[in-house]
Amino acid sequence: MRSEAVPEHDAAAPQASPTDEVGAFLNRRREQIAQRWADEPLFRAVFTVSRDEAVEAGRSVVDALAQVAASGRVEDSDSAGFTVVREQLARMTAARSRSGMSTAQVSGEVDALRAPVVNLLVADLPDVPAERLRESTEALTVLMGTLRLVVMETALTEVQSLIDRQQMQLLEVATPIIRLWDGIVAVPLIGTLDSARSQVVMETLLEAVVDQQARYAILDITGVPTVDSLVAQHLMKTVAAVRLMGAECVVSGIRPAIAQTIVHLGLDLGTVITRAGLADALAYALHGLGADIVHATPGGAGHR
């Protein structure tokens, strides 16, 4: 990792560019930087088990920065040098986010790594001319800014993949099939019934009809805020498919506002059996199965 070609702390080497100088400095002071960073909140709060872990993590970040500096592209967040620490940085920022910190606060913590390393650089080059020291400091500052950008990028990627996972989960979770009685299954629909979700609903419902040998399937739309013509079309298709499987489908949970809207919209749900509430739908299905609910009388249970 350490480049032998870079002169060690030599004021009489005017050919070294500022980025080379920074790279050499990072390699030379790797241990001290890692030690100082281990005391900064970003490392200290993530690696709580032992300080050695924090120092080790700090070393790998210093190595990555040194590699980027050696490549001369200190402002490029896509530099190959960052690739090896990207995963580690993602884990660190994710840990900080989980502990309730905002993105700006995490960004601030990354920024806090800059001062110790810049101070070290200034202390490390006491004999170089002011102009060269300024250039090197600037290169290091840019490099640390790029590190901050990389950290934010990885955090964003993490958030995006989290959203993707949650969307998938929503598709799965939001469509439970409930067996209400022998031969009666129900799906409580919640949220937006777009094409992707209605497909999942239809598939899981049809499977449940087969598995449970259901004769009645109840689609409860109490949790669906908007029933427009596309949602209605999805419902009708599901009802038709259930019917093809030899079962009967009842749509329940139609609220007054939804009922008025459907009428104004001009949708004809005449072919669909609908009930206001889930209880009504269950009563309808039970009746269809010949299992009417009767009220127990004080003198003993009996038919009305």
Partner: protein
């Protein structure tokens, strides 16, 4: 109690199915802010859902502009859906129930017109379509309001 019009005025892109969710949520919230009753809210949201989907599916994407209106003591919400898609060659035909050039039920445009108080459509073949709808909160006497 009618709230302020703050947060009602907005420009929302309609580029994906996900944007439709935003449109519905914004319209519902805006209508509630302006003092729309639950039925009027639901009707307006449903109309917005139909029109936004038309903008997306037939117009190839566009945007929604929401504008709060005041007429004396009544508060209203104007929604302007615009796209620069292929346009509608025969608006009268498109408004007829059951007519669809896609795979839908053909109830969207005509249905949306019945769900709002004012409805205007301006379409130029090849240049795009703009649908403007307006509904008023608690307008007395309320039109088309069966018990």
């Amino acid at each position: 109690m009618s709230g302020t019009a703050a947060g009602v005025e907005a420009r929302l892109p309609i580029r994906s199915d996900l944007d439709l969710v935003w449109v519905r949520q914004h319209v519902r919230q805006a209508a509630a802010t302006l003092g729309f009753g639950l039925v009027e809210q639901t009707k307006l949201v449903t109309a917005a859902s139909e029109l936004a989907r038309n903008t997306l599916v037939y117009g190839g994407g566009g945007e929604l502009r929401a504008v709060p209106l005041t007429d004396g003591r009544a508060q209203g919400l104007r929604l302007v859906f615009s796209d620069s898609g292929p346009g509608i060659p025969d608006v009268e035909q498109a408004l007829r129930d059951g007519y669809t050039s896609g795979g839908g039920l053909g109830m969207g445009l005509g249905g949306a017109r019945r769900l709002v108080h004012e409805f205007a459509i301006d379409s130029t073949p090849g240049a795009g379509t703009t649908v403007t709808v307006t509904s008023w909160a608690a307008r007395t006497p309320r039109p088309r309001e069966e018990p």
